[in-house]
């Protein structure tokens, strides 16, 4: 993550790692399981990142994460804080067992959401605001695998962001956040998380 986020001026310092064996929390957890797990395990404040790596998320999911929000205006600030963080498939860790997705790209992608980034194919359309980042070209579809090139909006400027961390490409295909995605992350972090 540090190498992936370094060009954006963001770094991560590992504070601790804990290991828990729990069948209910780790395999296709329900909402209640998730709350119970995070109530027990979550650490730090809203400006701190909690990364969970679970055995099986169900449905072939590799990960999911919570967008930043205003704690003050949240309907339930305590629950918002408890749930905050990213859940990733443990098999996506570097060197683990999931083919094509075991270089650590999943946690990098999910953490992008934690910083307030959307998918580069947000909206699944060639018009409209897309991901609200002006240096990522319009993209109508998620990328699968690692194609040489892709242009899902041929009438629009630029090619699909197949190497962007906020696409759905294979880990080996991931290379970058754009400059304005980096700025967006800083702005979102400053507004929603810094000092919270």
């Amino acid at each position: 993550m540090n190498e992936s986020y370094k060009p954006s001026g963001i770094s991560f310092t590992l504070q601790s790692t804990d290991y828990t064996t729990n069948a209910a929390w780790s395999v296709s957890a329900t909402d209640a399981d998730e709350i119970e797990m995070k109530t027990a395990l979550r650490k730090g404040t809203y400006e701190d990142l909690n990364l969970y790596f679970l055995s099986d998320l169900g449905g072939g999911l590799l990960g999911f994460c919570y967008f930043p929000t205003s704690l003050k205006t949240s309907a339930d600030p305590a629950l918002t804080l408890t749930l905050d963080g990213c859940i990733n498939l443990a098999g996506s860790l570097p060197g683990a067992e999931v083919p094509n997705y075991n270089l650590g790209g999943t946690a990098v992608h999910e953490t992008g959401h934690w910083f307030g980034l959307f998918h580069v194919f947000q909206g699944s359309a060639c018009d409209g605001p897309g991901d609200y980042v002006s240096d990522t070209p319009k993209q109508r579809v998620a990328t699968s695998g690692c194609p040489t090139t892709q242009d899902s909006c041929p009438g629009q400027k630029g090619l699909d962001s197949i190497h962007n961390y906020m696409d759905y490409s294979y880990d080996v295909c991931y290379e970058e956040f754009t400059k304005k995605q980096g700025k967006r992350m800083h702005r979102m972090y400053s507004k929603y998380r810094d000092g919270k």
Binding site: M1, N2, E3, I10, S11, T13, L14, T17, D18, Y19, T21, N22, S26, V27, E47, D48, N50, L51, F53, S55, D56, L57, G60, L61, L62, F67, T69, S70, L89, A90, L93, P94, E97, V98, P99, Y101, L103, G104, G105, A107, V108, H113, G116, H119, Q122, P129, Y132, V133, S134, S144, Y168, Y170, V172, E175, K180, K183, R184, H186, R187, M188
Partner: protein, 106 residues
Amino acid sequence: MRFFTLALLSPLALVSAQVVERHCGAPEPPESLKAEAASIATTIDTETTTLDTGRSSSAGNPYNKINVKTYVHIVTSPEDTGRYTQAMVNEQVTQSSSTSLTKHLT
């Protein structure tokens, strides 16, 4: 029949069979966050930043470097206990770029 048995016994086989392409379960961004994203996009597109000009950052600069304290929780089934190591976690947090890992693995 043998394959069926292996699939039942091997969590690795199950995972490999299930994840054939990336699926991220992040929810649809709420309208309030989209509005903030639109506002930020306008700001970014019109500003001349210290990053653009290469000047050093100053107090209040939204682009000061961010360091995020990170807590990792490995939560596994009994069958997976011990499978995911501290070395993997360290690689995830400290490195984890596709380029560096590709170099490392090849």
